[in-house]
Each structure stands twice: as C-alpha cells, then as structure tokens.
Amino acid sequence: MSQNHPFEQEELMAYLDGELSTDRATAAVAHLERCPDCQRVAAVLREVSQDLMAWEVGSSSPRIEAGISSALEERGRESAGANAGKEIPVGISRVRRFTPWALGFAAICLVVFVWSVKSVGPNPGKPFNSVPSSVGEPMAERAPVNGRIYDRLQQFSKLQQAPEVQAPPMDSNGLPQGTGVHAQRSISVDGRPPTNSASPVRAEILMAGDSVVPPPGGPMIVRTAGVTLTTRDFDQARAGLDDILRRHRGYVGELNVNTPAGVGRTLTATLRVPADQLDATLAELRKLGRVEAESQSGQEVTAQYVDLEARLLNGRNTERRLIDVLQQRTGKLADVLAVETELSRVRGEIESMESQGKSLAKQVDFATLNATVNEDYKAQLQVVPPSTSTQFRNAAVDGYRSMVDGIVGVAVFLFSYGPSLLLWCAVLFFPVRFFWRKFRRVNPE
C-alpha cells in the first residue's frame, strides 16, 4: 500500500472476488476508476480467471445415479427398521435391497463358495507343488509354491492369523473364476491396479465382508459437557448422581470427593454417558442443586473417520495383493522377504487404524460430562473456648517447638556458612593485625 495505491494488490483481487466489505469495495471501485496501474492488475486477474474457464469437463454419465438410488432405498429401510426398534445391519439391508436378484446372486455365491471350500480343503493326495486357491485357507494346510516360500509362509502363519478372505478358485492362468462377491473381491487382489475400476458399491461389499469397524450412521460428534452445582444436601446429591448414571446407562470415569475442614465438601467427577442420553442426564443433574455454571461443546470427527475408513480399505486391498503375490509368484528369497516385510508393515498399519477407528467410535458413542458438586457450607459457631490448661499446654508445646527450631536453624547456618567464615577469618587475620599494630605505633595514646 502506498499513497498512490491505497489498496494492496491482494486486496484488489479480493474485491474482484467479492470478498471485500461494502465500504472497502466502494473505495476500491473509486480507486480503480482513476488508477491505470490497478486497472492493469485487475485486467490480468480477470484474464486468468477467463482462461481457466477453458477447461470444461463435460457432464457425468447416468451411472452415477444407480448406486445413489439404491443407497436411498436402503436408508429408507434402515430408518423404518430403526423406528420399529430394530437396527438393521448394513450388510443385511444391502442384500434386501435387491430382493429377487439378491436371492439368485446369493445362490450363485453359495455355490461358488462351497465349490471353492471343497477345492481348497485338506487333501493329502494333492500334488506337493500345486498352486493354492485360497488365501483364507490356513497356511499350514496349504500346498507351497516352492520350498522356500513354503517355509516362509509357515513361519509367517505362526505369527499372524490367516486373513478372513475367501478368494474364488483360479483358472489355469491364475485368474479368478466365477461371479458375485467373491469374484469382485478377487479382482481387487489380483495384482492389477484395482481401485481405478472398482465402484463404490463394490467397495461397500469389501467393507461389509471385512471385520472393520462399521461405518457411522451420520456426522460423528464428540460431545463434551460440564456442569457445576451447589447443593444443600451433599449426601442426597451424591446418591442422586449415582442413580442418574445408572438410569442412563452411564459410568464414572473418575470421581474425587474432598472434605476439607472449615469449608463445604466438593465432588468432582468425570462421567461417561451415551451420547443420546447426554441431554436427559444434564436435565436431571440440574435438579440436584443450583446450577453455577454449565457448558457444552462438540467436535465433529466425521471427516477424520471417513479418511480413516478409506485408508483402512486401501490397506486391506494392499494386504490382499501382497498375499496374492506371495502365493502366486516365485522368485528370489530376498524378494519374498521384501514382500513379507511390506506385508507386516501394512498389517501393522491396518491394526493401528482399526484401533483408532474403534477409539473414535467410542468417543462418539459416549459423551464426556464433567460434573462438580459443591456443598452449600454452613459455618459452625464455636461456643466452647479451649480450657486454660489446654492453652498452657499448647503454649508450652509451641515454645519447645520454637526453641528446637531456633537451635536447628543456628546449627544449619553454622554448617552452611561456618567453613567460609573460618576461611575468611584466617585470610584476613594477619593483614588486620598488621595494620592494627601499625596504627597503634603511630598513635600510642
């Protein structure tokens, strides 16, 4: 900003974007009319915006609507189920959505599943180097690709449980056969870039098949509330607090009661109550006494959860691909070890993300309520003074205590500064004596 240009160029840009307040915008218009430099800057900015509009992406195809309409129907059924007091699991409601088609689809899946289980079951007569057809089969029962990989897989199977994934039977090219959920799932683990061709609906099937924390039913809010009460009957308030917690299915995270002399008692508690019971719990807590302070806050963690969910899904896909690589590809021992190391890392990440998701869900499900209950203290008038003998005795005790404290203090001072004092006395003794004698000689009287 200068005398000629009362506006920064960024502010000028903000005006063009409609981001300035009315008074500043009016001033900007007036300045723009008479300042050629700013007019040039404005023209440049407008030109850039116009050039950017050259990138048009066209319209989306109708297939985007397919998954949405089915999801809306499913939501309608879920809400109807919830109104009836029943929670419909996501996986079940998804199957219901397709009704007749779902039955046929499920029948095909069942046939493929039974066939694949039979084909990968324990078979003593199976050739030693045949290719395993299921990653969900216990590692120890699985035929090895070659000796080295088999040894590694056996070691690995002792450390990790086999993933809960049933892949379809493979054809001679190592590609999955069949249709349905299993076929879709196997496509995502066959080593090709799967995510670019995977539809969201298929992603949902993958999620439903895995033992993941179920997705939330809406925006996830971590709710926190605080209330400070003052009550005349502290014991009754304490009992009421326990009763309210029991009725609203909450529990005590932490509870402290202080009973200092001369002032009222104080109860400080951190309570955890189901999020949908928070308002009711607060309303009942208010009845326990006079409300001194109250607060409520909420932190939305939906985006965090969705991101976590997406990363978890990707992690699982990566895990499946790595298992597939271990099973179907032969190679150097170093390559196998590298894949196993990567697999361990990915599994560690998955477990970490699962625990984060569970923790997040728990924080959302249970709100935190910080309650403080203060007793309305009534001071007691002390009508009986202490007796004379007691006063004498207390004075004697105080005198003795003062004497001991004084002796200890002097001793501590001597121990602390005594050596230094002795040193300085020794150093200064002879010079002082010399000057003193000299002074005496000069002034004998």
Partner: protein, 192 residues
C-alpha cells in the same frame, strides 16, 4: 430457493426429494471437482458417487454447524487424498502400474491443465477451489485448515504465476511452455 442446509435437514427427517434436490445441485460440481483432479473420468464418477453415499450414511446425525457445500467438498478432498495415496502405492507395488490419462480434454483444456500442474500443490488446490468450485476465501480456509490471509496471498501468487503459463502468445509457439524464470520474474515485477 431452499438453502442446502434446509434441504439437508429435510433429508435427515426422511425426505427423499430433498436429497434428490441436493444431488441435482452438486452432482455436476462434484463430478467436475474429481474430474479435474484425477486422470480417469470413470474414477471421478465413482468418487462423486462415493461422496453422496457418505452423505447418505452420515445424514441421520447431521448438525447444521457448517455449510453443506463445505461439508461435501471436505469429504471430496479426503477421498481425493486417499485416491492419490492408493495410486502412489500401486505405482510402487505393481510394475508398470502407472495410470494412463483417459480424459479426452480439448487443446485449451489441456493447456490449462498443464499450466495448473506447474503450480505448487497448495497454491493449485486453493486456486482450483476458488475458480472451479467457487468457494469463498473463508470456506477454503476452513476446508484446508489454514488462515484466510494465507488463502488470499497464495491465491494471488498462484494467479500471477498462472498468468505466465497461460500467456496467449506462448500458446501459438508450440513448445513455448518452458518460460524461463527471468521472464516470470520480470512479469511479476511489472505487475507490482
């Protein structure tokens, strides 16, 4: 016209028509959002659909504390970030797994796209959110969790830099995209 937030609340109460209205309003903007950030149009459609599915799943607990528009683009940004992470992993794990551009862009669009790719990632995201998604400075700041002044300064820098890459006469010279730094600096000084 009913506001997005009112529609969302109606949808929360069970109105399917409200969601269909929201879907109609944001279907193309979200598709454009993903289309301009991903190589594949099919994948852009998938992720746009996934954004709406996330909204449907989250509708019962929606609270109108933020704009629906910001809420939608927040989900979309997360999905894009996740998609990019997946692409990087696939490129590492699968040999030759690099994604081939499948967008049949026009010459002008290609020119703009390449110019945008030259920008710093943070400046590019802000510029695209402003120009294509038409978000306000405060909405962008809220989405990217940065101060509003940072949004403004980065947006200004991005526009000035893009002016160089989009310079019309360079377009006619074929390989004129390689503008040297001195020309860029001169242009920047000239504007100031």
């Amino acid at each position: 016209m009913t506001s997005d937030e009112a529609l969302m609340l109606e949808f929360q109460r069970g109105s399917r028509e409200a969601f269909e209205e929201l879907f109609a309003r944001y279907r193309e903007p979200l598709y454009g959002f993903f289309c301009r950030r991903l190589e594949s149009r099919e994948r852009a459609e998938d992720l746009a659909q996934e954004t709406f599915l996330a909204v449907i799943r989250a509708s019962s607990r929606y609270e109108p504390r933020a704009l629906v528009r910001t809420y939608l683009y927040g989900i979309a940004l997360n999905l894009v970030a996740s998609e990019r992470r997946t692409r990087v992993r696939n490129a590492v794990l699968v040999e030759g797994g690099s994604e081939v551009a499948a967008n049949p862009d026009s010459d002008a669009a290609l020119w703009v796209r390449r110019a945008l790719e030259r920008l710093d990632a943070s400046e590019r995201e802000i510029l695209m959110l402003r120009e294509y998604e038409q978000l306000s400075y405060s909405e962008i700041a809220q989405l990217l969790r940065i101060p509003v002044n940072t949004v403004r300064s980065r947006l200004f820098r991005a526009r000035l830099a893009l002016k160089i890459w989009l310079e019309p006469e360079k377009r006619t010279h074929g390989s004129g995209m390689a503008i040297d730094a001195s020309a860029r600096r001169r242009e920047g000084e000239g504007l100031k």
